[in-house]
C-alpha cells in the first residue's frame, strides 16, 4: 500500500470502500465467466481479460460522475463495468446478441453506452486518444463541467497520436485524464523492449502533469484520480496517470502457454502478493468496515449475478438478419 495523505484516506469513505470492493469483485467474476464461455466454446472470437487490473478502472470510475466520459480499449470489460454497465447487456454483446449494448454488432472490443458516458472500447491500440480528448474539447466548448478519462495500455505509448493530443490538450487546457495501465506486456513482448526513457516524462514534456500510482491499490488510485479529475473539472487542464499493474492471464483468452515470454513465478507473485481485491478486502477488515463472512457472501452473490447474466445472454436471441444493414448511417 502506498502512503496516503490523511485527506485522501478520509475521502475514501466506508461506503465508497465497500462499493469499490464490490465493483472489483464484479469485474473479476465477470472475467471468470468470460473465460468459461471461451473454454466451453460458447463465445465467438476472443476476449482480453482485465483480471488483476481491477483497482484501476474501479478507483478511477469511483471518482467520476455518471455523465463523465470514458474511452476504453480491447481490454475493456473492467472499464465498462466500473463506469456502470450492466453485465446482462455486456454478456449479450460478447455473444453477439440483439440485447447486447451494441445489438451484437460490436462484441467484446466495442462496448459503448451513452447512458454511462462510455464512448466505446476500441480495438485499435491508442485509437481512442483523439476521441477522449475530443469529448474534453466538447466539455470545455459547452462549458458543461464534464471530464473525460482515456484508458490505455502501456503498449499504446508507441502510438504517435498520444503525443499529438497531449500537446493539444495542454495548449487548450482540456479536462481529460490519460490513464496508462502498465501491465508490463504489449501482447507477448515485455514493455521494456518497446518503451525507452521514462513514461511520465512523456507527458510532462508537453507540460501535462503526471503522477504514478500503485495500480493494485484501489484507494491509492481513487485518491490520485480524484485530485486530478477535480482539478481538470475546475479548469486545471489535462493530466496523465501511470498505474502499475499486471494482467493475470494471457493477452487474450486463447493465450495459454505463456512461458516463452513470462514465468509462472512472476504471475504467481503478482497474484498472491499484490492482488487488488485481496489487498482491499484486508483493508476493509482492518478498518472494521465489514467482516469475513460478509465478504464471502458477497463473492457468492456476485458470482451468481454473473452466472445469471451469462444465462440471460445465452438465452437471448441473435439480431434479426436485417440488422446487418442498419446503423451504417445515422
Amino acid at each position: 500500500m502506498t502512503p496516503q495523505t490523511e485527506e485522501a484516506v478520509n475521502m475514501f469513505s466506508k461506503e465508497l470502500a465497500l462499493h469499490a470492493y464490490r465493483q472489483m469483485l464484479r469485474i473479476r467474476m465477470f472475467e471468470e465467466q468470460v473465460n468459461e464461455l471461451y473454454t466451453r466454446a460458447l463465445m465467438p472470437g476472443l476476449a482480453h481479460l482485465y483480471s488483476g487490473e481491477e483497482a484501476i478502472a474501479v478507483g478511477i470510475c469511483e471518482a467520476l460522475k455518471k455523465e463523465d466520459y470514458v474511452t476504453s480499449t480491447h481490454r475493456g470489460h473492467g472499464h465498462c463495468l466500473a463506469k456502470g454497465a450492466t453485465p446482462n447487456l455486456m454478456f449479450a454483446e460478447l455473444l453477439g446478441k440483439e440485447a447486447g449494448y451494441c445489438h451484437g454488432k460490436g462484441g467484446s472490443m466495442h462496448i459503448a453506452d451513452p447512458a454511462t458516458g462510455n464512448l466505446g472500447a476500441n480495438a485499435i491500440v491508442g485509437g481512442s486518444m483523439g476521441i477522449a480528448t475530443g469529448a474534453a474539447f466538447s466539455s470545455k466548448y459547452l462549458n458543461n463541467g464534464l471530464v473525460a478519462v482515456c484508458f490505455f495500455g502501456e503498449g499504446a505509448l508507441g502510438q504517435g497520436l498520444l503525443y499529438e493530443v497531449l500537446n493539444i490538450a495542454q495548449l487548450w487546457k482540456l479536462p481529460v485524464i490519460y490513464v496508462c495501465e502498465n501491465n508490463l506486456y504489449n501482447e507477448y513482448t515485455h514493455y521494456s523492449e518497446t518503451t525507452a526513457g521514462d513514461i511520465c516524462a512523456r507527458a510532462t514534456a508537453f507540460g501535462v502533469k503526471a503522477e504514478t500510482v500503485d495500480g493494485q491499490d484501489v484507494q491509492a488510485v481513487y485518491s490520485k484520480a480524484k485530485q486530478l479529475i477535480d482539478d481538470a473539472r475546475a479548469g486545471g487542464g489535462p493530466a496523465f496517470l501511470l498505474c502499475n499493474t499486471y494482467r493475470y492471464t494471457g493477452h487474450h483468452v486463447g493465450d495459454i502457454n505463456r512461458e516463452y515470454y513470462r514465468t509462472k513465478q512472476e504471475e504467481q507473485e503478482w497474484k498472491t502478493g499484490r492482488d487488488p481485491i485481496q489487498l482491499h478486502g484486508e483493508r476493509l477488515l482492518h478498518e472494521g468496515f465489514t467482516d469475513k463472512a460478509t465478504l464471502d457472501a458477497l463473492e457468492s452473490e456476485v458470482r451468481e449475478e454473473m452466472k445469471a447474466a451469462v444465462e440471460f445472454a445465452i438465452a437471448t436471441p441473435y439480431p434479426a438478419l436485417e440488422e446487418v444493414e442498419m446503423h451504417v448511417y445515422a
Binding site: 459503448a112 485499435i124 483523439g130 476521441i131 475530443g134 497520436l161 499529438e164
Partner: protein, 332 residues
C-alpha cells in the same frame, strides 16, 4: 433552390458563406485546422470567419492531422459539430485511422448509439506545380468506406448548398474542394437560404448522343468538351453526381440508357478509382442499352510530376475528352 441568382461568387466565397451561415445558425458548429483563424488558411478560403466568430469557434491547431481529426470525432460524439480543415487532400493519409477505423464505424459498432456528425473539408486536384505530395485526389479511398459520405461539388452554388447539408447531417462526411476552383471558378449563387440534398446528381447540360459523367474539376472540362462536340454535331449530356456516396445511380444509368454511350471523368487516378465504380454502375445498369463500353478518364497513373510540361499531361483535358467521345460516337 431559390432562383435569385442575381450575383456571382467564387467557389471559395460560396464555401465561406455556407460556413458562416451554419455557424450563425448553430453555435455547435466550429472549425479546427492549421492556420484557419487569422490566416484564413493558405488558400484564404476561411478569411474573415475568425473576425466574426472568434477564436472560440475557429481553432488554429498544431500540425497534427491525426490528432485534431480524432479530437473532432470525439467532439462530434459529444455535442459539437466540428468542421475539420485538412489543407491538402494528400494529408488525408495521416487521418485515415481516425476517419476510417473510428468516425466511419462508431455508429455501427455501437449499434446506433453514438453518432459522429462531423465534416472534414479538404482539397483535391493537380496543376498547381506543387508536385507529388500536394496534388493528389484521393477521394476514391473514402468512397470505399461504409459509414462515410463523400461530397464533391463542382460549382459555387453546389458547394454552398451541399456544405450546408453536410454540416447538418448526422454522419461523418468528407467534402472535397478542387484547389484550382477556389478562386478561379465563379458562378451564380442564390442569395436566400438553401440546401441541396446528398445523393442527387445534376444534369449540368442536356444532350442525347453521349453521357459525360464528370466530378468536381472535371465538370468544367466536360462542359468544354461538350461545346467542342456540339460543333461537330455530337450532343453530349453532362451529368455531375455531386456526391459519390450516397450515389445517385439512377440518374447516371438513365442518362446512359438515353444516350447509349458514356464516358466517366474524374481527377483521381483512373485505376482502381472513382471512374471504375461509376463505369461499373453504368455498365451493370444500362448494359443492354449501350452501344459501346463505358470509358474511363482519370489522372495518369503516375505520382504527379513537378515539371509543368509533364504535369500538364497527367490531368484529363477538354481535348482528350473530346477525342475519346468523338471516337466512341463514331464507332457505333
Amino acid at each position: 433552390m431559390p432562383d435569385t441568382t442575381d450575383r456571382e461568387l467564387t467557389f471559395a466565397q460560396a464555401v465561406r458563406e455556407a460556413l458562416a451561415e451554419e455557424m450563425r445558425h448553430d453555435s455547435r458548429v466550429c472549425i479546427l485546422g492549421e492556420d484557419v483563424a487569422e490566416a484564413g488558411t493558405p488558400f484564404k478560403v476561411l478569411s474573415g470567419l475568425v473576425e466574426e466568430f472568434g477564436t472560440n469557434r475557429v481553432f488554429d491547431t498544431p500540425i497534427s492531422e491525426a490528432g485534431f481529426t480524432g479530437i473532432a470525432v470525439g467532439a462530434a460524439m459529444t455535442g459539437i459539430r466540428p468542421v475539420v480543415d485538412i489543407m491538402f487532400g494528400d494529408f488525408l493519409t495521416l487521418t485515415m485511422d481516425q476517419m476510417v477505423n473510428q468516425a466511419a464505424k462508431i455508429h455501427y459498432m455501437s449499434g446506433g448509439k453514438w453518432k459522429v456528425p462531423m465534416v472534414l473539408r479538404t482539397t483535391l486536384g493537380a496543376s498547381r506545380r506543387s508536385a507529388a505530395q500536394h496534388s493528389q485526389s484521393l477521394h476514391a479511398w473514402l468512397c470505399h468506406v461504409p459509414g462515410l459520405k463523400v461530397v464533391i461539388p463542382s460549382t459555387p452554388a453546389d458547394a454552398k448548398g451541399l456544405l450546408k447539408t453536410a454540416i447538418r447531417d448526422e454522419n461523418p462526411i468528407i467534402f472535397f474542394e478542387d484547389k484550382m476552383m477556389h478562386h478561379k471558378l465563379k458562378g451564380p449563387v442564390p442569395t436566400g437560404e438553401y440546401t441541396i440534398p446528398l445523393g442527387v446528381a445534376e444534369v449540368k447540360r442536356v444532350g442525347k448522343d453521349i453521357s459525360l459523367i464528370a466530378t468536381s474539376s472535371m465538370v468544367q472540362v466536360a462542359l468544354g468538351a461538350a461545346d467542342m462536340l456540339a460543333e461537330i454535331g455530337i450532343s453530349a449530356e453532362v451529368v455531375d453526381p455531386r456526391t459519390l456516396w450516397p450515389l445517385d445511380e439512377k440518374t447516371l444509368i438513365d442518362s446512359a440508357k438515353k444516350t447509349s454511350r458514356a464516358i466517366v471523368i474524374d481527377e483521381g487516378y483512373g485505376r482502381y478509382g472513382v471512374t471504375s465504380e461509376l463505369a461499373s454502375v453504368i455498365s451493370e445498369g444500362a448494359f443492354y442499352d449501350l452501344d459501346g463500353p463505358v470509358l474511363r478518364m482519370g489522372a495518369m497513373h503516375v505520382p504527379i510530376p513537378f515539371s509543368p510540361p509533364l504535369e500538364d499531361l497527367t490531368v484529363p483535358t477538354e481535348k482528350m475528352l473530346f477525342d475519346a467521345a468523338k471516337k466512341l460516337c463514331s464507332k457505333s
